[in-house]
């Protein structure tokens, strides 16, 4: 009975369709007229071009999101400066004053805040990015655009915040240690970290879309990472205290966050050589390239499935 109805429906269609098309296989008909599958994933090169074409959207979306984030607050975008300032204040109060952990580091405040800001940049990119698609599902189901624009816009957003934080850090270091040419090394360090963050955000955006539990789990992962990355203490000093064998520091130095933090500290802090990690530049660069390329391909491979949620 049901099948009958469907068949009847098809017959009506055919009687309406003119010409010989009705006898032809539909896929062949589509090909003859140059139609393409509506939900096909574009090739990688084409996808990159499409993304480049939407760069203005990425920037405008990031700007709009920054604006929307503070739109409800009375102080508005002043919070963009206040939030990192207050964060730095709280960490300095807790670790520098209350616990008194100077850990034998000269400018402990700058050392700590450097680590905190660099870490927060990656952490926020990841946690925010894991919701980049899930929170915009209705936009995704409405408009056609390369989905990677959303996680990318989130990173642009965080980069903007990072620039403000770095400004605060420059003032702090400038007042305590004075200016130095080595500050310019912050730029390549941040470029590498941004590449790394883009890759991480793309990876977690894809995972977060299909496994929503990840956003519950991520805070624990990032907090563990926070304590393991040598933000509150100097890794070489700590290992010397523990009498650890020489290879341990080479293993710990592979941690990408430690590498990015170390690069910024090398650029900004006087007398950081004694706390510096081995091979930070090559490690930072390798992570940046591998994670960005891998993350991009990983994200792109699910491009046609994001609408399903």
């Amino acid at each position: 009975m049901w099948g009958c109805r469907v068949r009847a429906a098809r017959l009506t269609r055919m009687s309406n369709a003119a010409g010989p098309a009705e006898t032809v296989d539909l896929a062949a008909l589509a090909e003859r007229h140059g139609l393409s599958r509506s939900s096909a994933r574009p090739p990688l090169g084409g996808y990159l071009r499409e993304l480049w074409g939407r760069r203005q959207f990425i920037v405008s979306y990031a700007r709009a999101r920054t604006y929307a984030m503070y739109a409800g607050a009375r102080l508005g975008s002043v919070w963009q400066v206040l939030t990192p300032l207050m964060n730095a204040g709280v960490y300095y109060l807790a670790f520098g004053v209350l616990l008194g952990t100077k850990n034998g580091i000269d400018n402990y405040a700058a050392f700590l805040i450097c680590g905190m800001f660099v870490f927060t940049y990656t952490q926020r990119s990841m946690t925010e990015g894991s919701r980049a698609l899930a929170l915009n599902m209705s936009l995704i189901r409405t408009l056609h655009f390369p989905r990677a624009t959303l996680p990318l816009a989130y990173v642009v957003n965080e980069l903007n915040q990072m620039a403000v934080s770095m400004g605060i850090l420059f003032v702090l270091v400038g007042v305590t240690d004075g200016l130095a040419w080595s500050w310019f090394l912050v730029v390549p360090a941040l470029v590498l970290q941004t590449m790394f963050n883009l890759g991480m955000t793309l990876i977690f955006a894809r995972i977060g879309t299909f496994v929503s539990d990840i956003s519950q789990l991520l805070p624990f992962v990032t907090r563990t990472w926070l304590y393991a990355s040598g933000i509150f203490f100097s890794i070489p000093d700590k290992l010397a205290d523990l009498d650890a064998p020489g290879w341990v520091i080479h293993v710990l130095a592979l941690n990408p966050i430690s590498a990015y933090i170390d690069l910024v500290r090398r650029a900004l802090l006087d007398q950081h050589e004694q706390h510096a990690l081995p091979n930070a530049w090559p490690i930072a660069a390798a992570w940046a390239v591998v994670v960005l390329a891998g993350g991009f391909v990983f994200f792109w491979r699910a491009e046609d499935r994001y609408g399903r949620g």
Binding site: V6, G19, L26, L35, S39, Y67
Partner: protein, 253 residues
Amino acid sequence: MAEPVPTVIADDVNIIYKVIAGQGGKGTAATAFRRILKRQDRPTIREVHAVKNVTFTAYKGDAIGVIGRNGSGKSTLLRAIAGLLPPASGAIYTGGQPSLLGVNAAMMNDLTGDRNVVLGCLAMGMSSAEIAARYDEIVEFSGIGDFIDLPMSTYSSGMAARLKFAIASAKTHDILLVDEALATGDAEFRVRSEQKIKDLRAEAGTVFLVSHSLDVVLDTCNRAIWLDKGTLRLDGDAREVVAAYTRETTANR
């Protein structure tokens, strides 16, 4: 007569999507834990078979009304044509990039109308020069007036729908999918948007229109598709299909 040019071909399309249908059991941590221990695979995830074996071909210049009761898969079918919801089996072929206009079109509610116009146009791939050129036209068409400077959260649902329709129709589309977008507007806007749909059809595009207003379908469409619980019940001349649909719905009453 020349062979009509197909623009959308649906070949035996099935669409299944998964929904998380609330928490199973009492929704406490204990029941969730027991479920994991017993290795029951998330009974809360339900598969919805929204569109079943639908096949049709749409041609250039067609305006197709998609009718059917609530939950019969109309919006899902449109999303699949737009390429936003991939079919589980079968295939949909389209010429050009279809654009979907719906009331659910998400804009950023914290932002003003004019920022939403710019963002929406950028997302559709327009350049800023194009946007600058079309901006006045979009605002004019939406008929929102001074409210364009206010956040969208202050708009009524009708106003938001008008703005979204105006943004989406700023671009010329080969294939336009309209999902109930006209339902919330007032009479004046409905007349305008119906005219816009007719214009688009005249530009040799193809228009799909989901609507519960059979009058709108009769006014704007030459063809209609009747979906019933996800299956294609009838496909043909708009008047015939609407008549058959009306017969059945009144008979069931």
